[in-house]
Symmetry: C2
Subunit: 466 residues, 2 copies
C-alpha cells in the first residue's frame, strides 16, 4: 500500500477546514515529540499535525484523507510503549488532546461522558470529588482516556474491578471514511447485534477514532487500606499470591516489586519508601464500605502472608502514607528509564498462578544473557511489566541480545498459556510476536475485520495485525 504525501493543496484544504492556523502544524512547526511515543524506539515524523477540537473536524479530515488515500494516525498524550501512535507512513497526525472536556456526570445512570483527550488523572479527581469511582488505574496517569480505551488498559485494580473494557458503556467513533457512529450507550445490558464497541476497545486506533466515551462509574468505596509486605526473596513473595486468591480474599490490587526498583524510585523521586531493606515486596490494597469489612479481609491476608514466610506486614491506613507508597509504585517506569541509556519492554500476561514460574524464568535469562532486566507488575492479575536495559551495550550487541531475550520471553509466556500483551497493546513494536503467537485463522480474522472498517487501510496503517 502506498499513501499520498500531504502536499500544498492538501494543506490548504486542511487549513481552510480547521480555520485556526495555530491548530495545524507542519514543517518546522512540528515538535519532534510527535515522531515517537514514551518508549521511543520507533520514530517517524508526520507531514502535518492537526489539533482537532470537535467530532465534526475529525470526521471531515477522515473523509478527506480517505478520499485522497492519506495515512492518518490518531494520538493522545503519546504515553504508549509500543509505537501505536507513531505515524510510520507519515501523513496526518490527528492530535486529540484539545478535546479534553468532561461532558456529563449522570448520577442516575452512574455514567460519566467524556471527550477523548481527558487525562486519566483528571477523571479520577473529578469523580472522586463527586464521591464516585472509576476503577481502572494504570500507572501512567497522564494517559488520555481514549488511549486507555484503545489499549484496553488494566492497571493495578484489575484484580478486583476488571479492566477498561468493563467500564466502557458507549462510544462515539469516527470511521476511516469519516462517517460517525454511536455504539452502546448509557444502557447496562446490550444484545443488539455484534458488539462493535468491544471491537473498538483495544484496537489501538486502527478501526476508528474515538471522539466521545460513556464510562461506567461505581460509588466510591468509603475505606481503603494498603499493606506493604516484605519477603526475603521474590519467589516466596510471588508464591504467596495464589494462596491469597485461593483463600477467597479479593484484594483491590496486588503488586510485586524488588528492592532495585524501590531504590531507583527513591532516587528518582527524592523521597524515602517506608521500607527498602528486604529483597522483595508485595503491595496490597483492600477497599470496601466499612472498617470491619476491610479489616476482616486484610487480617486474613496478613496471616496468610506471615504463614507463607513474610518478614513483616506494614499497614498504611492514612491517605498520606498510602499516597507515599503508591506514588513510588507509579514512578517505577520513569525511575528505571532514567537509570539506563535505552530500554525495551515486555508486557505479557500469564494465568495468575504462573507468575512465579515466569519471574524465575526472567532471572535465569538475566544471568544467561548477562543483561540487566527489571520487572514489576501486577502479581494479582498475571500481567508483568519487564524492562530490558541497554546500559552500555553497543548497538549490535544490544539488538542481538534484546531480540534473543524477547524471543525467549514470548515463547515461555506462550508455553504457560499466556498472551503477548496484557495492557500495553501490540502497536508497531510487538507485531511479529503477535503474529507468531496467534493461530493463522485468528490473525486472518483480524486482518479481515480491519478491512471491513478500513478498506483502503489509511487509519493507523502498519499496526496490530497488518
Amino acid at each position: 500500500m502506498t499513501y499520498k504525501n500531504v502536499d500544498k493543496k492538501d494543506l490548504e484544504y486542511i487549513v481552510s477546514l480547521i480555520n485556526d492556523e495555530e491548530r495545524v502544524l507542519f514543517g518546522e512547526n512540528i515538535s519532534e515529540d510527535y515522531s515517537h511515543d514514551e518508549l521511543g524506539a520507533v520514530k517517524k515524523m508526520p507531514d502535518v499535525v492537526i489539533k482537532v477540537s470537535s467530532t465534526e473536524e475529525v470526521s471531515k479530515i477522515m473523509k478527506y484523507a480517505y478520499d485522497n488515500s492519506i495515512a492518518v494516525t490518531p494520538r493522545g498524550s503519546g504515553t504508549g510503549l509500543v509505537g501505536a501512535a507513531v505515524p510510520i507512513h507519515g501523513g496526518i497526525i490527528i492530535d486529540l488532546t484539545l478535546m479534553n472536556q468532561i461532558l456529563e456526570l449522570d448520577d442516575e445512570n452512574l455514567t460519566l461522558t467524556v471527550e477523548p483527550g481527558v487525562l486519566l488523572m483528571e477523571i479520577a479527581k473529578f469523580v472522586e470529588d463527586n464521591d464516585f469511582f472509576y476503577p481502572p488505574d494504570p500507572g501512567e496517569k497522564t494517559a488520555t482516556i481514549a488511549g486507555n480505551i484503545n489499549t484496553n488498559a488494566g492497571g493495578m485494580r484489575a484484580v478486583k474491578y476488571g479492566v477498561t473494557r468493563d467500564y466502557v458503556r458507549g462510544l462515539e467513533v469516527v470511521l476511516p471514511n469519516g462517517e460517525v457512529i454511536e455504539v452502546g450507550g448509557k444502557v447496562v445490558k446490550n444484545s443488539s447485534g455484534y458488539s462493535i464497541k468491544d471491537l473498538i476497545v483495544g484496537s489501538e486506533g486502527t478501526l476508528g477514532i474515538i471522539t466521545k466515551a460513556i464510562l461506567k462509574l461505581l460509588p466510591l468505596p468509603k475505606k481503603k487500606i494498603s499493606l506493604l509486605v516484605p519477603f526475603e526473596n521474590l519467589d516466596t513473595a510471588i508464591e504467596t499470591v495464589p494462596k491469597i486468591i485461593k483463600s477467597k480474599s479479593i484484594p483491590t490490587a496486588v503488586e510485586f516489586m524488588q528492592r532495585e526498583a524501590i531504590v531507583a524510585a527513591e532516587k528518582f523521586l527524592g523521597k524515602a519508601f517506608p521500607d527498602s531493606q528486604s529483597d522483595a515486596y508485595l503491595l496490597l490494597t483492600f477497599d470496601g464500605n466499612s472498617e470491619e469489612e476491610v479489616e476482616k479481609a486484610y487480617d486474613n491476608v496478613a496471616k496468610i502472608c506471615i504463614e507463607a514466610g513474610a518478614i513483616d506486614v506494614l499497614i498504611s491506613d492514612t491517605e498520606e502514607r498510602q499516597e507515599g507508597i503508591w506514588s513510588a509504585r507509579g514512578a517505577f517506569l520513569e525511575a528505571i528509564k532514567s537509570s539506563t541509556t535505552e530500554m525495551d519492554e515486555v508486557d505479557v500476561v500469564v494465568p495468575r498462578n504462573k507468575v512465579a514460574v515466569f519471574v524465575k524464568f526472567i532471572h535465569e535469562l538475566e544471568n544467561k544473557f548477562d543483561i540487566r532486566i527489571r520487572s514489576f507488575g501486577h502479581a494479582g492479575d498475571g500481567n508483568l511489566h519487564i524492562y530490558i536495559l541497554r546500559d552500555d551495550l553497543d548497538e549490535t550487541t544490544w539488538n542481538k541480545k534484546l531480540n534473543e531475550v524477547m524471543d525467549c520471553m514470548y515463547k515461555e509466556a506462550s508455553n504457560l498459556n499466556g498472551l503477548v500483551s496484557g495492557e500495553h497493546g501490540i502497536g508497531y513494536a510487538k507485531k511479529s510476536y503477535l503474529s507468531t503467537s496467534l493461530d493463522k485463522e485468528s490473525l486472518n480474522l483480524m486482518k479481515a475485520i480491519k478491512l471491513s472498517f478500513d478498506p483502503k487501510n489509511i487509519l493507523n496503517p502498519g499496526k496490530v495485525c497488518q
Copy 2:
C-alpha cells in the same frame, strides 16, 4: 443465497463421521421441537439433527457443510425467544446438549472451564457447592451456557455484577470453515489484537460455534437478603429506583412486578406469594460478606423506599423464603404464556432512569390498542421484558395490532436512547427492528464482519444482521 439440501450422500457421510446412529436424526426421527424455540412464532424443520459429542465432530461437520454449502444452525436447549436457533434455511442442526461436562474448576485462577451444553442451573449448583459464585442469573435456568454467551444474557444480578460478557475469559470456537480457534484464556487482562472473543459473545451462533468456555468466578458472598416492597402503583415503585441508585447503594438485583404477574405465577406454581395485595412491587436483593455490611445497605434502601411511598418493606432473610419469592419471579414467563393463546415479546433496554417513562408508555399502548400487555423486568438495569398477548384475537387483528404495538415500543425505546435488545438477542424475529434502529454504517460493519467469518454465509444464515 441458496443452500444445498441434505441428500442421501450427505447423510451417509455424516453417519460415517459420527459413527453412532442414535446421534444422527433425520426424517420422521426429528422431533418437532427442533423446528422452533421457546416462543415458537418462527418454525422450520431441519433436514438432519446431529447430536455432537466433541469439538472434532463439530469441526468435521462444519468443514463438510462449508465445502458443500449446506446451512448449519447450532442449538442448545432451545430456550431462546427470537428464533435464533430455528433452521430457517433447513439443512443441519448441530445440537450441542450432549457436550455437557464441567471440565475444570481452577481455584488459583478463579475460572471454571465448561462444555457448551452445560445448563445454567448446573453451573450455579456446582460452583456454589464449591463456595464460588457465577454471577449472571437469567430467569431461564435450563438455558445452556453457550446459549447465554451467544445472547450475552444478563439476568437479575446485572445491577451489581454485570452481564455474561464480563464473565467470559476464553472460548474455543469452531469457525464456519471448520477451523478451531482459541480466543482469550485464563488471563485476567488482554490487549493482544482485536477482541474476537467479544465479537463471539452476543453473536447468536452466526460467527462460530462455541465448543468450550472459560468462565470467571467470584468467591460466593456469605450473606444474602431479599426485600419485597409493595407500592400502591407501578409508577411510584419504578420512580423509586433512580433514588436508590443515586443514594449509592448498589443492590444485587432490583426487579419490578405487578399484581397480575404475581397472581398468574401463584396459579401456575400452585404456591402463594408472601404478598399479593398491592398493585406493584419492587423485589431487591443485597449480598455481601458480613451481616453488618448487608444490613447497612438494605436499611438505607428500606428508608428510601418508605420515604418514596412504599406501603411496607418485607424482609426475607432465610434461604427458604427467598427461594419462594425468586421461584415465583422465575415463573413469570411461563405463567404469562400459559394464560394466553399466543404471545410475542419485546426485550428493550433503556437508560435506567427512563424505565418509569417507558412503563407508563406501555400502559398507554395497552389502552390505545385494546390488547393485553404484561411486563416485568430488571428495573435496576433498564432491561424490560414485555409480553403482548393474543388471547382471543383473530389472526388478522392479532398480526395488525402486534405490529403496530411493537413499532410504537421500539420507536419509544429509541427516543429514550434505548436499544432493541438487552439480553434476548435479535435472532430472526427482531431483525427488522435492529436494522431500522441502527445507523446504516453500523449495520454495514456487522454485515462485513459476518462475511469475514463466514464468506459463504452458511452458519445460522438469515439471523441478526443478514
